[in-house]
Symmetry: C2
Subunit: 223 residues, 2 copies
DNA sequence: ATCCTCAATAATGTCGACAATTCGGCAAGG
DNA sequence: CCTTGCCGAATTGTCGACATTATTGAGGAT
């Protein structure tokens, strides 16, 4: 009857380590080392690496081991682009299907987001942002699309911290979320899709800005 | 230097067996049996099952083995819905990026499709259909979206045979493809996205028809 | 007759060991 | 000085054996 928590599963441990940035892109993942580090057998680690490879978080080359997959700038833009069209679809669906409880949950998140923006807490806002979007996925009742979007999000997470750094981004993002929330509350599918689309177009722009800024900084501070 | 072909890989063998329908939905996949059947070790089969589980073609339950994942009617519709928005995006992109070679390839496929329709060869047409869409994915130059769409297609493949059975479907489908091709040739992104969207909306309708027909038939021929 | 218990069985999960492969350095040759 | 071939360390790929877990069926109690 003793079922150990999921956190003991090498897959979840490794996944967390990669997504949280403890393991860096292109870092080699030696099976034996990982096995000892997280207290598991090499077999379990191997299975976890296969899953993460299929998921796109790890790159697995035959006879050459595994490494944390490096998501290039261009690929990050692609990911965000796909996320945009999928979330737009989900927003439309959510508008017609969202329950009273769903709207209530969204309202709570909106209230907290306003607080964070007022307090100038960018990273707290960012976390609430994730919650907001996830709530919409749930409301849409579309497991297939939700799975894909969740996977994409985990791949692009490395870039999402940088987008929060843009001046005035939080305030603008908050206004966009208000529009999405209003459309959902009104059960207006067209408006919800349009608002979400506009929001994610902005996110894409911000991402381009972040990438560009990074390049400039790198050029100015060589070595 | 002897590199055995990919077909020897248990993953590809199993995948092919599932997608081609040799292994039926909900059929149990006993590791030892498969290992002997395809001449591989249990370890390799195990790794293949993990990959296929992550891919959505196999369902893996802890301590309870693997079975071919059964895609429900509702899930098939969800898959097609997601495929529609992704392919619409890819069509738009392809319109602005397609090369002369890409257009030439599409033209060739169109010619053959017209032949098949004229000959009343539904399944030959269906195969060309797949080629047509894949060519567009390639032209779009969007690996991230292409990967996702390819994965979705393999999951929904069981239903695609049924859609070809609808009377007059091939002729209508051909006209829709002509519209898509024309938009791509004109490098008109808006038109390409719209044409693809309309096409896949039709496919979705046909899928609903196929599922409905199946249910009626099942009721009329019980047991 | 029905339900419960419990052993028998079959399959999966895990571990250790060994074979196969890659990669680095190093020496010989051009 | 650069290239080529080879050896050895490190790592992955594979196999077999065993432990663990679910399932099944018989037998007995109610």
């Amino acid at each position: 009857m003793k079922r150990r928590p999921v956190r003991a599963d090498p897959y979840h441990k490794l996944r967390e380590a990669i997504v949280s940035g403890q393991l860096h892109p292109n870092e080699r993942l030696v099976e034996a080392a990982i096995a000892e580090r997280i207290g598991a057998g090499r077999t379990a680690v191997r299975a976890a690496l296969v899953r993460l490879d299929q998921e796109g978080l790890v790159e697995l080359e035959r006879n050459r081991g595994a490494r944390v997959r490096h998501i290039s700038d261009g690929e990050a833009l692609e990911i965000e682009e796909v996320r945009a069209v999928l979330e737009a679809m989900l927003a439309r669906r959510a508008a017609t299907r969202v329950s009273a409880e769903g709207l209530s949950a969204l309202r709570q998140v909106m209230i907290q987001m306003r607080e964070r923006v007022a307090a100038g807490d960018s990273i707290g806002y960012s976390e609430l942002n994730a919650t907001f979007h996830q709530t919409i996925w749930t409301a849409a009742g579309h497991p297939t699309a939700s799975r894909l979007v969740a996977g994409l999000k985990s791949q692009g997470i490395r870039f999402q911290y940088q987008t929060a750094l843009r001046p005035g981004r939080a305030e603008r993002s908050l206004r966009e979320h208000e529009a999405i929330f209003a459309a959902l509350k009104a059960h207006d599918g067209d408006a919800a899709e349009a608002a979400m689309r506009e929001h994610l177009a902005e996110v894409l722009d911000t991402l381009r800005w972040a990438i560009d800024t990074q390049h400039r900084t790198a050029r100015w501070l060589p070595g």
